[in-house]
């Protein structure tokens, strides 16, 4: 099990925003999908640093990202 960020995509889609995507330290980890107008996390690449949570919750007060525990099996599907 490990700790990763998870975007509540329905919440995120309400805003026109890509801010967290631009501040994640990992490449192609926190991505943006224009078809749903939402950010999404490629779990396998996430290191659980919570910088995205700082951006979304602390700076923007939008609270669209939560940290979750996942099992390697769950991440393999992403």
């Amino acid at each position: 099990m490990y700790f990763v960020a998870d975007v509540k995509e329905n919440e995120c889609a309400k805003y026109n925003c890509k801010q967290c995507v631009l501040f994640c330290p990992e490449p192609n980890c926190l991505n943006f999908k224009s078809s749903t107008n939402s950010a999404w996390v490629w779990y396998d690449r996430c290191k659980g640093c919570e910088i995205c949570v700082y951006v979304c919750s602390d700076l923007l007060k939008r609270h669209c990202i939560e940290m979750v525990m996942v099992t390697p099996k769950a991440t393999a599907k992403s």
Partner: protein, 289 residues
């Protein structure tokens, strides 16, 4: 080099790893990507073993998205944390001996201009404060005195991060580190002023709080080095491990330091200033068309 080295030979597409195919299809080769589109194209740098929340890793991510000419760029690094990510990118990477980066880059840039006189080949050194301003000090300075035409980027985490926390010339005065418990007795070296005095034609100091500005600074440093002489960027890239910054606070720390001693600063010679004014005028005209 050039775009030929990226292309997949016909018939081999289905045998190539998915990440590679994505890179050729959705990567930035041969086009100008906008750093604000990160997360929507395949980035040049891949997964790497730098620590969670490392803002040196973040700076490197933006660096690769900002390269004006990735298919004709060579990156030089050395021992230290940065090379852990630099070596995982789809851009040729040379590992210089610790302290030697700017000597290797000098020879490389000169050789490339002789071998490919009609092509643009960019050479960029990215190394730590220890690699460039302590152990590599002589090589760094002399490459600037000789006016070598490449870019030097110091990713300054104010410590020897890779070897567990020794103090560097760039550590702030008074700081206690794990392997330097007595506290630093001397001031942080003023690298930006040294670079100006030693002959750099473009110099910048930056904290990674604004990707657009990081990209613009990197692009300017590379373009100025192509035409005029050595260029230098001093970037604050915190080490959350050695400075015990909770990872969630890493961006907040970069914003705090920007207000203190890492306020954005950019300096260039008159010649370089004129060059960018002209270039930006032309770019605006292009957009209007």
């Amino acid at each position: 080099m050039g775009l030929e080295y990226v292309r997949i030979s016909p018939g081999f597409e289905k045998y190539m790893p998915r990440d590679y195919v994505d890179l050729v299809k959705y990567g930035p080769f041969g086009k100008q990507v906008d750093v604000m589109q990160m997360g929507q194209f395949k980035e040049l740098v891949e997964e790497h073993p730098m620590c969670a929340g490392c803002y040196m890793a973040y700076f490197i991510r933006v660096f690769y998205a900002a390269l004006p000419n990735p298919e004709d760029t060579i990156v030089l690094g050395t021992a230290g944390c940065a090379r852990l990510a630099l070596s995982q990118a789809a851009v040729p990477f040379i590992y210089g001996n610790y302290g030697d980066t700017n000597a290797v880059a000098s020879g490389l840039k000169r050789a490339l201009s002789i071998r490919f006189p009609d092509k643009v080949k960019d050479v960029v050194v990215i190394a730590g404060d220890g690699g460039l301003i302590d152990i590599g000090f002589g090589m760094t300075m002399h490459s600037w005195f000789r006016r070598e035409k490449f870019t030097t980027i110091m990713v300054d985490n104010e410590v020897y991060g890779n070897t567990g926390g020794q103090e560097s010339g760039m550590s702030p005065k008074g700081i206690q580190l794990k392997m330097a418990p007595l506290g630093k007795k001397f001031d942080k070296i003023n690298a930006v002023e040294l670079a100006k005095t030693a002959g750099c034609v473009y110099v910048a100091r930056i904290s990674p709080t604004n990707p657009k500005r990081i990209a613009k600074t990197i692009r300017r440093a590379i373009l100025a080095a192509r035409h005029f002489g050595p260029t230098f960027i001093h970037a604050y890239t915190s080490c959350n491990i050695e400075y015990s910054i909770p990872t969630r606070e890493v961006l907040a720390d970069a914003r705090k330091r920007e207000k203190q001693d890492f306020k954005f600063y950019e300096w260039m010679t008159d010649e370089v200033k004129e060059f960018f004014e002209e270039l930006e005028r032309k770019e605006k005209q292009e957009v209007k068309k």
